[in-house]
Amino acid sequence: MNKSELIEALAQEINIPHREASAITTTIIETMTEALARGESIEIRGFGSFIIKKYNSYEGRNPKTGKKILVKPKKLPFFKVGKDLREKVNANKK
């Protein structure tokens, strides 16, 4: 499912115009993005949580050439699936 399919499903599910569903989706995604950009975590019960991990600068190698390079400090978001969603997804395993 992609964003436009989600918007369409949202519009139908709560019976609002497509335009409104699209704006709400944007607000939700932007709110989450801004929280992560501030370094804040996100916790949505039943769905999952996001945390930001910070990495210091380190010396790495270009895996293609083997050349040493300095990797700059960086932050990356990690998602941990919530218990309810994890169990429901796993219940449909092959």
Partner: protein, 95 residues
């Protein structure tokens, strides 16, 4: 302080003047329910500009209890993984 569902509802309410608090709550709940249902049914969820949630089937494998060292078999399972979009990564590292 972590961002919660209540914060999402608050932001939707604030940015959409036509919505009552109840409608804002319903829309956030519906957004999450639709997202979850997609993953539960086994379909990936792609939120462009944010990231992609993948559903992956893992084979069973032999593992060890790290505390006791005892060998055990881990059953096959289905998991959700998340890959952040380049846009999200850039925004997180801009500050």
């Amino acid at each position: 302080m972590a961002l919660t569902k209540a914060d999402l509802v608050q932001q939707v309410y604030k940015h959409h003047e036509g919505l009552t608090k109840t409608q804002a709550t319903d829309s956030v709940e519906a957004f999450l329910r639709i997202s979850k249902d997609s993953l539960i049914s086994g379909s990936d969820l792609l939120l462009s500009g944010f990231g992609k949630f993948n559903v992956k089937d893992k084979n069973s494998r032999r593992g060890r209890n790290p505390q006791t060292g005892a060998e055990l078999t881990l059953d096959a399972r289905r998991v959700v993984t998340f890959k952040p979009s380049g846009i999200l990564r850039d925004k997180i590292n801009a500050s």
